[in-house]
Symmetry: C2
Subunit: 475 residues, 2 copies
Amino acid sequence: MRTTLWLAAGLFLAGPLAAEPYSEEDLAIARELRESALAGDGGYEIVAELTTDIGPRLAGSEADARAVEWAVALFEEMGFDRVWTEPATFPTWHRGLERTEVVSPAHHELVTLALGFSPATPKGGIEAEVVMFDDLAALEAADPAEVADRIVFIRNRMERTRTGAGYGRAVGARSVGSRVAAEKGALALVIRSIGTSNNRFAHTGMQRFDSDVRMLPAVAISNPDADLLERLMAGDEPVRIQVEVDAETVEAYTSQNVFAEITGSEMPEEIVAIGAHLDSWDVGTGAIDDGAGVAIVTEAARLIKALDRRPDRSIRIILFAAEEIGLWGGRAWANAREDEIERYQLVAESDFGAGRIYAISARVKDEAWPVIAAIQDELAPLGIEIGDRGGNGGPDFYPAAALGVAAVDLRQDGTEYFDYHHTVNDTLDKIEPDALAQNAAAYAVLAWLGAQAPMDFGSGETILAEEAQREASAD
Amino acid sequence: MRTTLWLAAGLFLAGPLAAEPYSEEDLAIARELRESALAGDGGYEIVAELTTDIGPRLAGSEADARAVEWAVALFEEMGFDRVWTEPATFPTWHRGLERTEVVSPAHHELVTLALGFSPATPKGGIEAEVVMFDDLAALEAADPAEVADRIVFIRNRMERTRTGAGYGRAVGARSVGSRVAAEKGALALVIRSIGTSNNRFAHTGMQRFDSDVRMLPAVAISNPDADLLERLMAGDEPVRIQVEVDAETVEAYTSQNVFAEITGSEMPEEIVAIGAHLDSWDVGTGAIDDGAGVAIVTEAARLIKALDRRPDRSIRIILFAAEEIGLWGGRAWANAREDEIERYQLVAESDFGAGRIYAISARVKDEAWPVIAAIQDELAPLGIEIGDRGGNGGPDFYPAAALGVAAVDLRQDGTEYFDYHHTVNDTLDKIEPDALAQNAAAYAVLAWLGAQAPMDFGSGETILAEEAQREASAD
């Protein structure tokens, strides 16, 4: 086998690894893939089709099922060696009416989205005085007497960063604000949207859902509406609002993870897995989250499929189900692979929009790091630097972290991602075709060179799994 | 009188007008006003209060009446010499449900606003196949056979410009599209929003309203939704949509123009009038359109009022009623002044958002142009250049153009204005406080030097009235 031969050769070299882990032929193909991806618009066509022909596709909705059919048909039409689905079962939720109105001291209708798995209010809504907190910690520290029988408003605002770190710092207000407010006797929760835009869009998203923990009706209001509510709260008069939510939680729905494979010629049982999630929130058309990812990994694999030779290892696309409402596709995938995770050469998911990739990070065994550096050499013309030795492969691979899967992160510029993410404004026009092509180029190079690598990357060892799980819990 | 003395002195000078039409004292006061305005935040506080305590204030709504009360109270609190109102009566319209859905070949809910004075559809809406036109001219040229029994979609897109000229070129689709489509037997009108933003907001606005002309239910969809509809129309299958509008036209409502005056010490019957409109569309909080204008002219007059001397001529603030739905306040104002327009030294309305002013234009008699140039000298430190010899004073002064009123335009940078204008996204955060202060500074200088000018500017002569009326008809 290639790997063994290469390792034997390596024994004669001074360093722990040769300067050139790849053959000239493999590198030439990597460059050809990169240039083809940059020159083409196949990725953009895919996301245009998904957002136009399917549109919003909340996990468990009728459009979710249509999206699965669409993906299977697309993969079959592209002629992959194998196309199949695997089930993922999860509780889901359907949005109905949602309304936040200030009733005094002035009347205002606030732009509102209910948060995922919010229970409904009684018809006509809940009306109460507002109590405002700077952030989740302030709510946690509050005396229940100041919270009871009121509507809690958490005003913390997400900070704009390239990495998206501001999201992790702010999102607790959304993920657990409702249960904390419920424990203190509040009637409902209103949060400032966990997003960076000053446009008047509310930002929805998941709350930590646990059917035996009591949750309150919970909504997000847009940043301009949160500003307005803060100005009203700064006045002398008490502020009273109405919150109304009509929504329904559905116990169990089964959707599908969708797979396509280019079967490897030398080590077909070893797999490079590149993924994205097929579901979206229900309010935009899911263009940047995660139509872009679907397009990027599909186009990357399509270009490899179109080569006149096969990769040594197999390359798989995985389009995950139900990422948004709890990583259910990712969990199902990991659960089914507990005993064979060492077959996964690397996993990498594209789920951070359509901004350009600026770095490659990887959670791999020490000996494999020089191979990552060699891959980065071929990504450098795309403006991609070497990143840190970490990463988690993307949200749908968090559940596999405990199995010690080797993971690569192609880190995207997320400066503008949270302007659109989880809002009605997540539409095709927010994708810059050239940036999407840069992403497809990087995934094509990564998948190809991952499949041709002279060694395995260490899956099965528990690499940084604890850290990855911690990150997962913040999502 | 000052004017007479100055003109007598002018006879001894070589040119038609002296190089220094203003006294050093008047210029020193202009500079003091300019610096005070730049250093203060009084304007921002006014628009914050209007948008927070009143919010949206569609002419004829309950909030319209509250806005009038608010303005009267504000002017009285500021201690102007006279505060009063004058009635304006107009037909108005109330928005109810509005909905556009693509029903085939895929299902999509499109972000929609009904256009002003749209009639309602039957309950449940109108469903039909879409016929698409590039612009109003293409619809006008169409064979009725291809339009009859269909829903017309006009896809022309507004071009972004500093002056706002792109709006005038595109807005015909909104102002008369419905009646043109009706004549050809269409069932409803859908237009691409007449706005420049790719954010998913629909843009409402007025249609030319004439109770004896048949109009169709008419809506605007956001630019991303219009893109989507175009992509669907490019497919092979016919595109069917549903349009539903519930709305009500109300025959006659009486609102008020609100006035405040600083009475002049020398020529109290001669008036510098600076205006803005108090009403707004119903979907945002009317921050840039036209809370900003209200704040700018009020702050400018407040600073002049705070001087330890009075201006020679009187200075009036006019907050017009019902601009958005047909310039009704401006018409009432002009109608009441048919016989005394020559008393108006100059009129100037701030109604183009909160972008910085970059030029001063004026429609004045030839002999007064050097005085405008002298005013521009004091505006130059604000980055304001001399503009063209034209201008119309702003929308609410269009009806006075036929009377030959002298008008000044402080031209604002409108590059971003149509990103927010007439959308739910017109909120306080879109105003940059420093730019608002620059505007207040310019209006304070203009009003002061207008009031101190050594000659009248020619009101009563019919200056460029025809051109001004033509512009009015495009709004």
